[in-house]
């Protein structure tokens, strides 16, 4: 029976990620994501990767969080979101074609991954990280497949990425931690850059759409 704090550290990120992904209210979802990143940093700390914990706090929680809130139009001064908070088709209606095209790859991937991991032995300490990584991966991909709001997809991408990082470090913690840390640091930087670019794009697209609608409305009045 593993100690209580291990179990707590493995389940807390998963629970927070699930709440962040399934909360209808996007501002709350983004706040939950920041909390999620902080608990992941705690997990890194507990696994003995201090540098990763530091980077996770800095890149994963602070900077990614800042860009996520920026995407919603929330800054230090302005507290009401300017971007549309829901997508009309979110989550997408369940039809067979979409289920086959979007969800089947996710399920196939998870099945393949379980099959491959079954043949890899796991130590007592890394088993919890491996399972929480797998669940995060599944949650993220599931949301990515079924949601159309761009911000929701960015959240899902970040959570999938974190799941992969946890899985990676649980696999390599005993054999080659240096190479694993190199990969995770690259991955963290890339995930942050991707989120930043995506957030700026969401803002720009929202502004252009508003402008478009405004000109269309003005044109309608003039004629």
């Amino acid at each position: 029976m593993p100690p209580l704090d291990d179990v707590l550290l493995a389940t807390l990120p998963v629970l927070l990620a699930a709440f962040a992904l399934f909360d209808r209210h996007l501002v709350r979802a983004c706040s939950l994501f920041v909390l999620f990143a902080l608990t992941v940093a705690l997990t890194w700390w507990q696994l003995g990767f201090a540098w990763l914990a530091l980077l996770e706090v800095l890149l994963g929680a602070v900077l990614t969080g800042a860009f996520l809130f920026h995407a919603l139009g929330i800054g230090l001064v302005r507290l009401t979101p300017t971007v549309r908070l829901i997508h009309l088709r979110d989550p997408m209606p369940w039809i067979w074609r979409r289920a086959i095209v979007h969800l089947a790859p996710v399920l196939v991937l998870l099945g393949m991954l379980m099959a491959a991991l079954a043949s890899l032995p796991a130590g007592e300490s890394s088993l919890a990280a491996r399972w929480s990584g797998l669940v995060l991966l599944g949650l993220g991909l599931w949301t990515f497949a079924l949601h159309a709001h761009l911000l929701r997809r960015l959240l899902a991408f970040n959570i999938t990425g974190t799941g992969i990082f946890l899985l990676l470090m649980s696999l390599v913690a005993n054999t080659s931690p240096a190479a694993g840390q190199g990969l995770v640091i690259t991955g963290l930087v890339v995930a942050w850059l991707g989120t930043a670019l995506g957030a700026l794009l969401i803002r720009r697209l929202a502004a252009l759409e508003q402008h478009h609608e405004a000109t269309a409305a003005n044109g309608g009045q003039a004629s």
Partner: protein, 498 residues
């Protein structure tokens, strides 16, 4: 095959070669940043000069490799070791990258002056992103371990997305957002595959992995993940739908670079990983070959039916990439003699397509600027007004269709030869169908442009310089067919001295 990739070499590198390589990788990025500060807005000769400067260390490296044989280095970073190598193939790809970046850099200032004189916002970012793209591509060609490949792949993907976003219009942003999400998902799949390999065998260098890996579920799942991520980024047949919208709204020089190089880099990594890790997976290689065959036919059909000029060229990329994928079953599990022919055919096809496709994008960009039309049918009457742009388009098309004496012809001939020697006749049918389809979509463009009874009312000829750059690239793809012995000799130069 692994010795052809230059991964296993016994000799020590020559002194100074690692410095030259670092310079060859880093200089484009550095010059790109300088380009952002001193923007060449009025003339293109500074851009050309600076790009030529970036070529210098590459030429030195080339001399070193030609005289001393394959060079391999390792770079220590803390507890990490990154592996690098340069052989004939690497040099060829590096040279191709630098030359195409040079062509785009020469084309861009005039293009930007004509197209975006009013909105100058995106221009600042063009040069550093182009430099970053060239540097990350160089990393990919040179890297001999999975960490360096991952870093190169990510930098390339992000800079490519950034370049596609520069026009700033709503269509460009929508397509760019889709491309960003796809690229990110593709790299997550790649990372997961790398994680499985590292977790099982505890190393990332390709030469070491080649001797360590054992067939089993872990290897197959890892390869499936790696291939899926890379093929998504390479726009291979069932995963190709994102390509045309992305090109549709991008700037012409960016489109040329993307189709010629970015797509090829993912293909290069995938082929390298297959040859190193699963050299015996014949059935899986056939699956990839069938995907390639489907890409040749479906991409050709889409290009034939496309309404917009740029879509014709973009779908033709999907079709032409299919030929490269047919190389998988010809290389894996075949006799060494057959694999040798297919090897030459694949790289020659890659070179020919890159040059021809860049030329075609530039020519089409010129036609679109001159006529102000985006659609193929809008070209009516173009033959009398813009003979030079149509000439470049035609010469590039000769290579794409695969007519002699172009490099495209030589490459397809080699692939045909390999397919016959291996007894894999289905690929002959695919090659024939692909040739017919590419002839069909090329002649459709010509049919519209030779309509004589339409008077063009509004047209604005582009500067002669832009037409000449497209023409030079097209001629290069044609002449490469006549001088094919030179790249093939460079390819044949494996392990030791030539």
């Amino acid at each position: 095959m692994i010795e052809r990739l230059g991964l296993e070499t016994t000799q020590l590198p020559t002194t100074g070669s690692s410095m030259v390589t670092l310079l060859a990788v880093g200089l484009p990025l550095l010059l790109g940043v300088v380009g952002a500060v001193y923007r060449p807005t009025t003339r293109s000769w500074p851009a050309v000069l600076v790009s030529l400067l970036a070529l210098l260390p590459l030429l030195v490296l080339m001399r070193l490799v030609v005289t001393h044989g394959t060079q391999a280095w390792s770079l220590e970073l803390g507890g990490l070791t990154l592996y690098w190598r340069a052989n004939g193939l690497t040099l060829l790809l590096l040279l191709l990258t630098q030359l195409l970046v040079l062509a785009s850099a020469a084309y861009a200032p005039s293009y930007l002056r004509v197209v975006v004189q009013a909105r100058g916002k995106g221009q600042v970012w063009l040069w550093p992103l182009m430099g970053l793209l060239a540097s990350s591509l160089s990393v990919i060609w040179l890297a001999a371990d999975l960490l360096a490949l991952y870093i190169g792949l990510e930098l390339m993907g992000l800079s490519a997305v950034g370049l596609m976003l520069l026009p700033g219009r709503i269509e460009a942003l929508t397509a760019g957002m889709r491309y960003l999400l796809l690229a990110l998902i593709g790299s997550l799949a790649f990372l997961l595959g790398v994680a499985l390999l590292l977790g099982t065998w505890g190393r990332l260098d390709l030469a070491g992995l080649a001797s360590a890996v054992e067939p089993g579920p872990v290897l197959w799942v890892a390869m499936a993940l790696l291939s899926a991520g890379l093929l998504l980024k390479a726009a291979v047949f069932p995963l190709h739908a994102w390509l045309a919208p992305v090109h549709g709204s991008a700037w012409t020089p960016v489109s040329a670079l993307h189709a010629a190089l970015v797509i090829k880099a993912s293909f290069f990594i995938a082929l390298q990983l297959w040859l190193v890790l699963t050299p015996g997976a014949v059935a899986a290689a056939w699956v990839v070959g069938v995907m390639g065959a489907a890409a040749v036919v479906w991409g050709g059909l889409l290009a034939w039916r496309a309404d917009k000029l740029k879509d014709v060229v973009a779908w033709s990329t999907v079709s032409q990439l299919g030929y490269l994928l047919i190389g998988f079953p010809l290389l894996i599990g075949t006799a060494p003699a057959v694999a040798g022919i297919a090897w030459n055919g694949i790289w020659l096809q890659l070179l020919a397509h890159s040059l021809a496709k860049a030329a075609m994008f530039l020519a089409v960009g010129n036609l679109m600027l001159a006529t102000g039309e985006l659609r193929v049918s809008g070209l009516a009457g173009a033959s009398r007004r813009f003979p030079l742009a149509l000439l470049s388009f035609g010469i590039a098309a000769i290579s794409l269709v695969g007519l002699p004496p172009s490099a495209g012809f030589t490459a397809k001939w080699l692939l045909l030869h390999a397919a016959l020697a291996a007894g894999q006749w289905p690929w002959l049918v695919v090659l024939a169908a692909g040739t017919l389809l590419s002839a069909a979509y090329v002649f459709r463009v010509f049919r519209y442009s030779f309509v004589e009874d339409v008077e063009l009312e509004e047209y604005e000829p582009v500067p002669l310089k832009m037409d000449l750059i497209a023409l030079i690239l097209a001629l290069a793809s044609l002449l490469l067919g006549l001088t094919a012995a030179w790249p093939l000799a460079l390819l044949a130069m494996s392990g030791g001295a030539p």
